[in-house]
């Protein structure tokens, strides 16, 4: 008998890592945040996340199967991430139909119309969020009270809202939660953005599992902290102290979980730092001088648009110089 073997070019072994494994590592990193949001906002938080996840998976399946006529890829974990992230970026009392519209914008417009996973230019969850923020500004900015805070009310302002609306910093500081509360996540806001400690924990897990590198989160947070410090040092009566800038709003969530989205961020460490610094600058500019209290979503989307340009000009360090 003459043996005929498989012939293929090298390499003949593979690392055994897969796209799916990477996606599920991101999901694991987000689970503590999900648990915390249920703890502070009640079952409403779980309701929002479930609707967002089911809608994202359903839109991915239906559009791929019937509109694009390709093999659905809902098991790869990416639509699951989009669904969870979308829910992390909205208040827990958001009506169900608005969440579904957000999922359609995220999966249908931002992801599948660009060719699906890997083809999208903009972070799908953020496109969904910004779509909703512009279309439903009232519902998207009425923040339910954190049930652990003991405040007797239905809705309350977020820390960033307080800063934006206050007449002076002294006035704002009176109503702002303490730094400790903001670190732990004992404040109001979108589902996933409130606990800085759990966000950092998730980030460390992703670093350990090599899903992300440190460059983007550090660049974003450092840029915001440095600019905020400069303004604060110049005039602490007009500008809030940098700890509040870093810990409030979606900055931590955005820097760790959304700016690091591998599909929409640059390929080289140098490019990632430029990208992160850009996000930091745009965020702080919108917060200080813009109409919206928060700017991280816009900042990430704007820098997403620059990613191909950054990839084109910022090359890795070549072996052998030049």
């Amino acid at each position: 008998m003459k043996n005929i073997f498989t012939v293929a070019p090298s390499p003949h072994v593979h690392s055994n890592d897969s796209t799916q494994k990477i996606m599920y590592r991101v999901v694991y990193a987000m689970l503590p945040l999900l648990a915390w949001s249920v703890f502070v906002f009640g079952l409403d938080a779980l309701r929002v996340t479930l609707i967002a996840v089911v809608a994202s998976l359903a839109f991915e399946y239906l559009i791929q199967k019937f509109l694009l006529k390709v093999k659905p890829t809902i098991t790869d974990g990416s639509a699951l991430i989009t669904g969870i992230l979308l829910s992390f970026n909205v208040p827990s009392n958001l009506p169900w139909w608005i969440i579904i519209i957000g999922a359609l914008a995220a999966i249908g417009i931002a992801k599948l119309s660009f060719g699906g996973l890997g083809g999208n230019i903009f972070n799908p969850a953020l496109v969904g969020r910004v779509f909703l923020l512009i279309s439903f500004p009232v519902q998207m900015t009425s923040w339910p009270v954190n049930i652990k805070s003991g405040i007797d009310a239905v809705t309350a302002a977020t820390p960033l809202g307080i800063i934006k609306e206050s007449t002076s910093i002294a006035d704002a500081l009176n109503s702002l939660p303490s730094i400790t509360d903001m670190l732990i996540g004992n404040t109001g806001g979108s589902l996933g953005e409130i606990s800085a400690i759990l966000i950092i924990l998730g980030g460390l897990y992703m670093l350990w599992k090599k899903v992300i590198t440190w460059h983007i989160p550090v660049a974003v947070i450092a840029t915001v902290a440095i600019i905020a410090s400069i303004f604060w040092l110049i005039n602490p009566d007009v500008y809030i102290n940098p700890a509040y800038q870093v810990l409030s709003g979606g900055l931590m969530l955005g820097a760790v979980f959304m700016a690091t989205d591998m599909v929409t961020s640059p390929m080289t460490p140098k490019g990632q730092i430029i990208f992160g610094v850009g996000i930091g600058l745009i965020t702080i500019s919108i917060r200080m001088f813009g109409a919206y209290p928060e700017g991280i979503s816009f900042a990430i989307l704007i820098m997403n648009a620059f990613t191909p340009l950054i990839n084109n000009y910022v090359k890795p360090k070549r072996f052998g110089g030049k």
Binding site: N3, F5, V7, P11, H14, S18, V263, F319, G320
Partner: protein
């Protein structure tokens, strides 16, 4: 901190199954097929014809230029025919078929095991003997050694680097040789140093071979100018440019040869072949080959005559496992998949790896998720995802600008890609095309 190269790299499972297996002589085959092109450069021209009686060590094909080399008979017997047959490339190549009769060696070859340390040849005499003995780089690249030993005009070698890295998973032939022929390798190094007129030689060995590091460090004390450096285990450290970088910290400029930074790199197996050629008058007609794989019942290291069919080695290692799906000549990262077991062992065959059916299949190709792992593991600082796209879309001028020709084809990108994208396949295609374009300009 152990030294290693500065950019990229991966760490595939080592699987050195045959590391503690002594080198055994493979029984003589009944017939051999000795290809005339076993090296980079022009194929040798046959000087025997059908019916000729040949002895072991006799020249049967003559070097046909400076970048070419002699081919010697590995057996004694009668030339059956000069014809074509498939070599490890899968293509039919010219070669010489010999029916083996007895084992009669040329008289001038010293067959004793006795170590011959002294020599009083000058550099050019050593190079001449190396050239006549048909020695090529035994790490797998098979570049004629005598060419490396004559630096281009105006360039001067400063240091000789010995590659004892063996960074390919599974392979152990160099490891065993270092353990069993340490003194011979040292003398070979002295000969290479003399021919290059350098007084410094460094042997680089990865830290997963502590016994070889210890033994060679001990031996090196008796040989002037030779030292051993332990390196962190990191693939592709055995790449010439990576080894130079790991040991000396220098980077060979893009498109240049190692001599541009004063280095000449040789494999430890080559140093041993040089010793045999110069001190024992023995041309290169046999080498150590690792036969291994997860299903192999007796992973082994064999001393094999060039031209022996792969099937003989597989038989000696316990036979072909039932579920063998792929047979690799070389290691799993850079080796070649061979279509059948008739393919002969040549000067560049460092191992035969039998892969099981389930290991032989590639994963489903998915979309690129821009995770940048290919960029971060590339030891040449290239962007494999981009080079693949440029190859796919036939955009060769841009591929050239993005330095596709710097690719050393180590396969780290394809190894690491979570979407199983065939990065290296398209990069090789692009390299081939860009190479044609560059040559057509001249």
């Amino acid at each position: 901190m152990l030294k290693t190269f500065n950019l990229g790299g991966v760490h595939p499972p080592e699987n050195k199954l045959s590391a503690d297996k002594k080198i055994e002589n493979l029984p003589l085959p009944k017939t051999v097929f000795i290809p005339v092109a076993q090296h980079i450069g022009a194929p040798a021209s046959p000087v025997v014809k059908r019916g000729d009686e040949v002895k072991v060590g006799q020249v049967i094909a003559q070097s046909s230029g400076f970048v070419s080399t002699n081919i010697h008979s590995s057996v004694s017997g009668k030339v059956k025919k000069v014809d074509v047959s498939a070599d490890s490339s899968g293509y039919s190549k010219q070669g010489i078929f010999i029916d083996v009769a007895g084992d009669e060696w040329l008289e001038e070859i010293d067959r004793t095991e006795e170590l011959v340390k002294e020599f009083n040849l000058d550099g050019s005499e050593i190079v001449k003997k190396i050239q006549e003995a048909g020695i090529v780089g035994l790490g797998g690249a098979t570049f004629p050694t005598h060419v490396k030993l004559v630096p281009p005009k105006g360039m001067k070698a400063e240091v000789l680097l010995l590659n004892g890295v063996e960074c390919e998973p599974y392979l152990t032939s160099d490891h065993r040789l270092m353990l069993e022929k340490a003194d011979e390798i040292m003398v070979g190094i002295q000969l290479l140093m003399k021919s290059l007129q350098v007084n410094k030689a460094v042997i680089g060995i990865e830290n997963n071979k502590p016994d070889a590091i210890q033994l060679l460090t001990e031996k090196a004390k008796n040989y002037q100018g030779v030292s051993v450096v332990a390196l962190k285990v990191q693939y592709p450290q055995g790449g010439e440019k990576q080894l130079i970088n790991a040991v000396t910290g220098k980077e060979v400029p893009s498109g240049a040869l190692p001599i541009a930074v004063g280095a000449v790199v040789s494999n430890v197996g080559t140093a041993f072949a040089v010793y045999e050629a110069v001190q024992k008058n023995k041309p290169l007609f046999e080498r150590v080959v690792t036969v291994t794989g997860k299903g192999v019942s007796k992973p082994s290291n064999f001393r094999v005559r060039v031209g022996t069919a792969t099937s003989e080695l597989v038989e000696a290692a316990g036979g072909l496992p039932e579920n063998t799906g792929k047979v690799i000549s070389g290691g799993p990262m850079m080796g070649r998949a061979i279509p059948s077991l008739d393919v002969p062992v040549t000067k560049g065959t460092s191992g035969i790896l039998l892969m099981q059916e389930e290991e032989s299949k590639r994963g489903e190709v998915l979309n690129c998720i821009r995770c940048a792992r290919c960029v971060s593991v590339c030891p040449m600082g290239l962007e494999p995802y981009l080079l693949m796209t440029l190859g796919e879309k036939n955009i060769f001028d841009r591929a050239e600008d993005e330095r596709v020709m710097d690719c050393i084809e180590c396969g780290s990108c394809s190894f690491t890609c979570p979407s199983h994208r065939p990065l290296l396949d398209y990069i090789r295609y692009g390299k081939g095309k860009v190479g044609q374009i560059i040559r057509s300009r001249k």
